[in-house]
Structures are given as C-alpha cells and as structure tokens.
Amino acid sequence: MPYIALIIPLLFAALFAFALFKKVRLYDCFTEGVKGAIPLAVSLFPYLAVVLILSELFEQSGLSQALTALIAPALNALGIPPEIAKLVLIKPFSGSGATAVLSELFAAYGADSYIARCACVAFGSSETVFYVSAVYFAGHKKKLLRPIVIALAANFLSVVLGCFLCRFL
C-alpha cells in the first residue's frame, strides 16, 4: 500500500496552500507553534519516566512471565492463543515492549501463521492504556480508576473479537 505514504505530504501541501490563500505568514506562524514543543515535552517527561520504569520492572522481574503463565489458560478458553498472552499483557504498558514481542512471534511462528495474525490484530486494535493515561492526565488530580478500567476492558474485548475473526477472515 504505497499510496498510504501520500497522506502526510498531501496534508501538508493542502494546508499550506490554503494558509497562503488566507494570507497567513507561514514562517512566523509555524515557528510560533513549535515554541510550545519543549514545554510540552518537559511537562510530560516525569509521567513518561515513571510509567517506563514501572514497565521495565514489570518485564525484567519476571512478573510479566508469571502473570502470562497464570492467565494463558483463561485466555485460551476465550479463544485467544496462549502464545500471544504476553503481548496482551505488555501492550497496555509499553508500545515498544509490545513491538518487541510481536517481532519475536513473527520469528517463532512465521508472519503468516494464525498466531502471528492474531498477534497483529491484538496489537493493532489495542492501545497503550497506562501510557496514554499518564500523558493525558499528567498533573491533574483526578480519579483514574473508572476510565482506565473501561479502556482496559474495551481493549481486551477487541482482542477476543479479533482472534475470533482471524479464524474466518
């Protein structure tokens, strides 16, 4: 699908042409916007650091393997191959961790196997819940339990449905 790559350059070209038509001073305006980049990165940094330290501890302590072994039979009952349990567990914490697990699965079972396809769907239809919550709610005092539980439940259901669909589609 090489035409997907066209989206971004076309988007920029269209916007800048429109902005010129509206007599926007492009250079000044773009620079003005970039000014916000460093304050934003600085304000998000502490939350990112804590989530990533936590995800590293979770993974390297063997806690994730232990939990994987624990939940694999339950996942199996729902039609999720036990091989992708680790992926399902890692994804809410860390996108790069999940990418690494996905690559391992490709290497172990082949990119076109049923397990790899399930893993792709699980990866593509779920999101890094803890990471997103850390970033979006950074610095706000707010009860996070309800939105996080809802997001995790919805993500989990999408994995169940995804693995089910992979058998037919």
Binding site: L48, A49, I53, R117
Partner: protein
C-alpha cells in the same frame, strides 16, 4: 495509579531480592533511559505537528472544522467549550489518520481545558477514545509484518478494523452509561 504503582513496584522488588538483586537498579535505569530517548523522539514530532496545528489555527481551518463538528462533538463530550471541542475533534482526526505523535499535543490541550471546566466526563470520554485505538489503517503493524516476510501483510486489516471499532464503541458506551450519575 498510586495503587498500581505500589503493587507492581513492591512485587518486582521482592522478586528481584529473591532472584537477582543486582539487576534491580539496571532495570529501573533502562526504564529511565527509554523515557529520555522517547521524550526526544516525541519532542521531534511535537516540533512538526505543533507548527502544523498553529498554521491550521491561524488560517481559520480549525475554527471551520470545529463549527462543522460542533453539534456532534457537543453531544459526545457533553461540553460547550468551543476551543476544547475543537482540540478534541482535531485529536480524533489525527488519530483516525494515524499521524504519528500528532494526537498527543491536541489531546493534552483538550483534556486540560475539559478538566479546568471541571468536566470529568469529557476528559474520560476523550481518554477512552484515545486508549481504544481509533486508527483506520494500522500502518505500524502492516509495516512490521511486511518486514517479517509476510506474503499478504495487509490481510489483517479487516479483522483489526472491526475489532478496534467494537472496542471504541464499547469504551465510549461504557463512559456514557457510567458517567451519567456524576455529571457536573
């Protein structure tokens, strides 16, 4: 978040004490290192997208889009705040298009405005939409799969799209159902 932090941290510390105490600090430092590199990567994409969004704003395109979507977004987020809704709509659009790094600054801005107005419901809705994956084309997975030598890397498109659609609908539905009681 405090409970999750304490639980994982303590459990990991105990396991490290039993199995391999010397590896505890290096594991945390790896996390810190990844935070540092990830922040730089994100900073790079904020540079591009914050410039892009400023041009969108000053050319009047943001205002035009948010006026069009106002009737819909007002009901979805139960909010009347024009500027927060405009950020939220652009966040959703950036998510759908799968522009890497672009949704974050908009989402952070919209969440800040919603919470400043004490609208927990809108902040939760926006978070759940973002945390259930809205992407129309899972480009990352397809690229990874193609790189791993798949014969038809894009054939996971349909199941992924259906699964992600379902999760987003369920997530948004649950927020709408459970949020009614504590509407402010």
């Amino acid at each position: 978040m405090n409970a999750i932090f304490a639980a994982i941290f303590l459990a990991a510390a105990v396991i490290f004490c039993i199995c391999d105490p010397a590896e505890f600090l290096p594991a945390m430092l790896t996390g810190g290192e990844r935070a540092a590199t990830l922040t730089l990567t994100l900073l790079a994409s904020y540079c591009v997208w914050l410039g892009f969004f400023k041009v969108m704003e000053q050319s009047g395109l943001s205002a035009m889009l948010s006026r069009r979507l106002y009737p819909l977004s007002r009901r979805l987020f139960r909010s009347d705040d024009q500027s927060a809704l405009s950020d939220a709509c652009q966040n959703i659009a950036a998510n759908l298009l799968g522009l890497p790094g672009a949704p974050t600054p908009l989402g952070v801005a919209a969440t800040g405005k919603f919470l400043a107005a004490n609208n927990n419901y809108a902040a939760d809705m926006l978070f759940v939409l973002n945390a259930t994956s809205l992407q129309l084309l899972p480009t990352t997975v397809i690229a990874l799969r193609a790189a791993a030598g798949s014969a038809n890397a894009a054939d996971i498109l349909l199941p992924t799209l259906l699964a992600t659609l379902l999760s987003t609908l369920i997530g948004a539905g649950l927020v709408a159902l459970t949020g009614r009681k504590c509407r402010t």
